[in-house]
Amino acid sequence: MAQATGIKEIIKPENLVYRKTKVMTDNILSYCPGCGHGTAHRILAEIIDEEGLQSETIGISPVGCSVLLYEFIDIDWQEAAHGRAPALATAIKRLLPDKFVFTYQGDGDLAAIGTAETIHTCNRGENILIIFINNGIYGMTGGQMAPTTLPGMKSSTSPYGRDVKLMGNPLKMTDIVATLPGTYYVTRQSVHTPVNVRKTKKAIRKAVHYQKLNKGTCFIEIVSNCPSGWKMTPVEANKWMEANMFPFYPLGDLKVPAEENAQKTTNSEKND
């Protein structure tokens, strides 16, 4: 009882240093403990809030763990069939070019069943943002092998580990789309530490800016975890991700706008 009173004393408006973004709804997230989706949702909602985009945004939710994404972020949503989100986004942006349009897709959705839609949307340079959550597994259906599952990695459909001779190699979709002329900004980030969260948020803000300038497709991969599917504790999962996922899917920009490169050079010259 004494402890409860103590918490009440602490939870006061004047003590709040970090509050719920108003663009997040009050619905309880449906994700497992330690999952990266909640953080990714949160920073996306923060950007929508901070950039004043709530009334200008149409999001497309995928099929996968984040299928109920529309329950958590308070904007207009369309729920796509598995893998088809970029096709929806294409039409939405062409019919409503002034709106901020993004898709949020997992690796099964984007890099397996939706491969054609992903590549062709990026190749046309549709002026949208694609957020790609890559945790190397099909989470919602119970931990099956994904197109991104690492060589040797165990899943319910690769119980002895992914044998690339039998099951093919993991697909680096982000590297592929970075080669296409239609993409403008392609980056690979994570949300497992505060520093990485800030970097990812910065990337999303850049993509919002580029979309306003009609620059083409922006593609942000977030390498993430799946404690349940990987059968690890959240802490173990993040450590495993750093040790195994990041070497195969290295974090950083894969394609940055030419003018930004020029800007960086100018700045560094000034600094010199």
């Binding site: 009334s55 729920e79 096709a87 929806l88 039409a91």
Partner: protein
């Protein structure tokens, strides 16, 4: 403004009518025998006149999902294809039906199954009228029998689609799509400046967010939705049946046929009547809803009905259900992309009298 008379292919008429009715978007993929629709629209380039978006998608699957995205924004959007392409679109179509989105899908039918032929057929009747994709749903299905109707049913299709928030399919065939006829085209209409209240347009502070989805993880909720759809389909059955009768007044035999087969049957009736056989035609214009009541009434007055279709016998099942055993019902028709000859229909009729 007055209507304009043009000589056009059925496929071209669809494209021109789409522009003139103020469609907002067309998303297509080439396939014979309907590629003229996409070609015509690309050449007409309506984006620079009416603002209509025209896009060649990477697949039929992408095209129908573009239609989903556009329709969910409350826009008048459409796609067209032919049989194998329509099979690919079925996933998108069931999602569109499940999300209650309005759109127009044109199927210029060719022979199947599989890659089949590129010649006209009517073998997609089951797919069009009974659902096609998974789950309990219906499309409103319009069956044009002329180039004029291919043009007219674009506007009618969009009107019905928005009235009922339901996808509409125009079930044409390779003959009507490819043949040229005179067609009266309506004057250019402006594209709508407003969208329905259910559309995703960006959430202002004044309303709750809009979610376009076909998902309900609560079975009770899903069943309530299914019941809502059933009620909608029943209303459509009640209010939207369209058909045409030809020489049925004194008929002892009725041919039931739509599209190209209906045109063949008009000639068959002329030939049969010259031989003293009193035969008439009921041409369903809507295949869903089907003119069940009228066929049942007519069954009480005639001796026999023949469903004439370029298929192995698909609509015949709906004719039988409508007639409900009152009179014998037969099927006759050629397949594989072959158009039935009028004389063949007469011979078949005589063999059953």
């Amino acid at each position: 403004m007055e209507k304009e008379l043009r000589l056009m292919k059925g496929n071209e008429a669809v494209a021109e009518a789409a522009i003139r009715t103020g469609a907002d978007g067309y998303f297509g993929y080439p396939i014979t025998p309907q590629s003229e629709i996409l070609e015509y629209l690309m050449e007409a380039d309506p984006y620079h006149t009416t603002g209509m978006v025209v896009l060649q998608a990477e697949s039929e699957v992408a095209a129908i999902n573009m239609v989903y995205g556009g329709a969910a924004c409350g826009k008048k959007v459409m796609t067209t294809s032919s049989s194998p392409g329509i099979s690919l679109k079925q996933e998108g179509i069931t999602y569109i039906a499940g999300a209650e989105l309005p759109c127009l899908i044109v199927n210029v039918v060719r022979g199947g199954p599989g890659l089949g032929t590129i010649q006209p057929a009517q073998s997609d009747y089951f797919q069009a009228t009974k659902g096609g994709g998974h789950g309990d749903y219906h499309l409103i299905v319009l069956a044009p029998a002329s180039v004029q109707e291919m043009a007219d049913f674009v506007e009618l299709g969009f009107d019905l689609a928005f009235k009922y928030r339901n996808p509409v399919m125009m079930l044409s065939d390779g003959a009507i799509g490819q043949m040229m006829e005179k067609v009266w085209l309506s004057p250019q209409k402006e594209r709508s400046k407003t969208v329905p209240a259910w559309a995703t347009t960006g959430k202002p502070a004044t309303r709750d967010r809009i979610i376009i989805t076909s998902l309900d993880l609560d079975p009770n909720g899903q069943e309530r939705f299914n019941q809502k759809l059933v009620a909608k389909y029943n209303e459509i059955r009640e209010k939207e049946v369209r058909y045409e009768e030809f020489q049925c007044e004194d008929a002892e035999y009725i041919l039931v046929a739509y599209g190209t087969s209906a045109r063949v049957c008009m000639k068959s009736i002329q030939l049969a009547r010259a031989q003293g056989i009193k035969v008439g035609l009921l041409r369903p214009i809507t295949l869903f809803p089907f003119p069940t009541k009228r066929l049942n009434e007519l069954a009480g007055k005639v001796k026999m009905m023949v469903s004439v279709e370029m298929s192995a016998g698909q609509m015949v099942e709906d004719v039988m259900l409508s007639v409900n055993g009152k009179v014998p019902v037969y099927h006759f028709g050629r397949m594989g992309g072959i158009v039935t000859e009028p004389e063949e229909v007469v011979d078949f009729l005589k063999s059953k009298i």
